[in-house]
Symmetry: D3
Subunit: 211 residues, 6 copies
């Protein structure tokens, strides 16, 4: 009696033949829109568009860079199936003494899950309240959108943190890199931050900024 409900299903789907899928996998080579990438044709979507097999310990140890951290993102560029879904994750490896310097995400909130180690994290609210906590394995912390925050490995061993973001393509503004690694004129920096010119010049030498 019900043997051709399948035919019905096929009939139904002919009406929806353009967009029967309920997701929009990024065409990473195509144009971007204010809400993400254009979609790949549904027929070319495959399971690996939803998967990243690389959220692993970095092959180059974090200690090989001066901040002793490595961030491995699983954002829309790594997982095209995240397009338009409004969230993403990442992995953060921190060697002893590792620091994620003061930064903000202009378009995303962040969560930390401490997998291993001891991490001191904090953010400064718009009313200048400070929210700092030393977190251990199993602790979770939220860092609301657009606010300056930091993480540092405050333990005696390596730390591993899983991150979640409320954007599939979060951008990051590092305070030091923005100020001292860009070509923002040193005079403008001192006028708008009150930092000492000597200090600015010293940090520009470190971060490679010009101007």
């Amino acid at each position: 009696m019900w043997s051709n409900i399948f035919l019905f299903a096929l009939l139904f789907s002919t009406y929806n033949n353009v967009a029967v899928q309920s997701f929009c996998v990024a065409d990473l080579k195509g144009a971007q829109t204010p809400e993400g990438f254009l979609c790949k044709p549904p027929t070319s979507v495959k399971v690996d568009d939803f998967i990243l097999s690389g959220l692993e310990p970095p092959t180059t140890p974090p200690s090989s860079n001066s901040s002793k951290i490595t961030l491995t993102p699983a954002f829309v560029q790594q997982i095209p199936g995240l397009n338009g879904l409004g969230f993403a994750v990442a992995r953060l490896d921190m060697d002893v003494g590792g620091v994620v310097p003061l930064h903000s995400h202009p378009d995303a909130s962040e969560m930390l899950i401490i997998v291993r180690g001891t991490v001191t994290a904090g953010f400064i609210a718009a009313d200048n309240s400070v929210f700092v906590k030393t977190l251990r394995s199993g602790d979770v912390m939220v860092l609301p959108q657009g606010l300056l925050h930091f993480q540092l490995n405050s333990g005696n061993g390596k730390a591993l943190v899983h991150l979640a973001f409320s954007s599939s393509n979060p951008s990051t503004q590092f305070l030091d890199v923005a100020l001292f690694g860009s070509n923002l004129n040193s005079d403008l920096i001192t006028k708008t931050t009150l930092l000492d010119l000597f200090e600015v010049k010293k940090l520009k030498a470190i971060f490679g900024g010009s101007g």
Copy 2:
């Protein structure tokens, strides 16, 4: 005195010559974005982009398929002017004994307006509360987004239902077709649903699933 306000209007609109229209009619042959289709050029928009002349009784009777229903959508593929507006409608014809099998819309809520006949409809909430009601002509029911629901013609005659959706391109996941008409491995089905393997095999034979 006011004779050239029209000139003013023309002047004003020259500033807006790219996008003076306040809608985005779908270019159905163009790419999709996470928020819908790219827009047709305003100059090629015509009244029929906002109209569907086909929400009529089906020429093939619903009883010619095993579920005894016919769904006629008026979604963005049928009405390009719906693009970006976030809603759509459809017509559902149900013969005696017709059933819309258990299904959900991953990206849309639904409303039913019973035009003719007697229809029993229901949905199961995320806390497993069941909301079922037998509806008659003039009754309206809401089925919130993403929840399993069904409709069946519980009367003695044909039923006609008008549907509204909170998406201009709602997708549908039929439980039976997803499980038994797809290539999802039978072993995975039994493990993740506790359904009996014999039952799974029997339904796969009906719905045409492999694996």
Copy 3:
């Protein structure tokens, strides 16, 4: 072996005991927010919160009012379960000669499904293009958000139209009632519309406007 998966489900849901439901049924006596009403407590939600049993032919015939139409809404005030879902429906009965005068919905697009009769409907776009069509049973038309539009029964019999809106609580601004039924000063009306003062006064007498 699986006999206590139910226990698991119960355990799981204890974590979500405040908001395990995935909808927000309006507390119609409570405060409103920019996104709709506050939610009723989940424990007091019942099936009738999702149902309206009154989208029926009006008991008072449309011809008893001068525009010869009756609009019966199924909005959030009638169906509290619509709260936050972003759409609604309504029923429009039009006697011979019935007219829905020129109006707009500041916060919603609209769709018409002609159930019975012949209806001429149209809207004026922001670039002053006019989109008018005479619709018959089975025709569907979209009227994009915020634009002036109208419907009139252009046939020889009664017309019945089902409406859908992209808001669960659409508001309506009737041009005539706004101008001539409000207390907007007549002098301001003539200056900002160029309508003749005599015409304004005449229509104010009809619509009851002061000023």
Copy 4:
């Protein structure tokens, strides 16, 4: 010790090489989406994409058109960097007696900042309440989305108003131009507005409407 944090920053950004910027500057020659224009490639973005150097007094005096006003927009077509940001501004110059005739913005709310002069502004709410106020330099007024409103220079000198909109590309529907400058049939106008046919014909002659 910290000398290669800059290297770290570079490493980090290689992951984000497609979309490291947190904005989407409009490609004004490209297609539009329901949420705005496609984005320019990040490498071609320059400071002038965020700037308009033309919100100045009009070279042609407002009094050269019959409504004695000039509107100078700073919308996404003028400032591509506004794409996707959801707001815009404009400048309104009004000569003595200048009037912005009754109109609405289907997709945007508006704010007025009176820079100079005396302006009477008002809007009509969906419940026909009228909100009118005579504003002077330093006064600010909000006009909610989709509602009919107007501004007129009610002082003895020129007026200058800065406008803000809650859309980066607001559209405008002028009542008079929509009704009397379009090709909407005169018979339809009288039926759906109750305006006198003679009045309609007279205004069509002024605004250039046909039909």
Copy 5:
């Protein structure tokens, strides 16, 4: 010279004294809105509103329930600071043979980060495409909103998975619990799923459903 910029800051903030914070920490005892909970007064916000110290291995082993899994959420009820931010995380412990039965999230997409073990996960798209993959430590997978999906421990040891959701309060609909643990009438189940009545009764006995 700059010594009172601090005073300026104080002055500035007096304007914003109601809502100077840029987040809305949930008042978990207050009412809910369609977009989340009402906000706590800013003055009562403390660092622990942004922290959960409980995403740890469960004290009761997963194997003590029949599905051999334990889910530990870090949703808005656990972390009030998540309110309105649109994402959340959780921890999933799976013993050998553990299964998260077929389910969907009506209002959230999900990501899996495999921390330890081997997990087979999959989802069925609305066009009945099946996306299944066996994931190992370091693999990440996305499961788009509203679609049926499952996870099972397909390895020889325990598995640990971190989950992220695109909602701060995701709801879950387990297929088995919805069908066989609710009071949905058995006759309705067989009619709308084609499952055998005997099978339905057997599973109702397991999951505790009535009707």
Copy 6:
């Protein structure tokens, strides 16, 4: 003939008696939601809820504070009718040498309209591109959401700037005040910014920070 269309309008509006208005004026003494304030009862809304009569030159000259600027906001706290509309404006007075120090708005983009004077403004993008421009009367500049930016009066006289924001209640994070006027521990500051401890202490003395 049409004399009772007004009656019709009254009839129609009885259906909408709770929320016939299409806006939500803030009840500033009530609770906040993630999307803004609760709404005032429609019956208590008055024209002044949409108006601020105070965007005037400050009575205390900007030069009385060390940054020589005064910001006068027209946000939702000043204009309750802005609630839920997603934008706001403000007035910025800058004396000679006035500076708006480096800051960001976590939840809003900003536009500048230079009314008078010469202002150098700039922002740093997430890829460390710097966008700086010296603006004169009639220039408009956009500063995208969440990015560090500044303005300084680079001319010889006073400057007046009108600001627009893409939030009705934008928050602000001043870099100096966040770092040196809060109680963020000095050791954490040096570790996460590489600033010299002596510099940090000196600025804390200026901005009043502890820790």
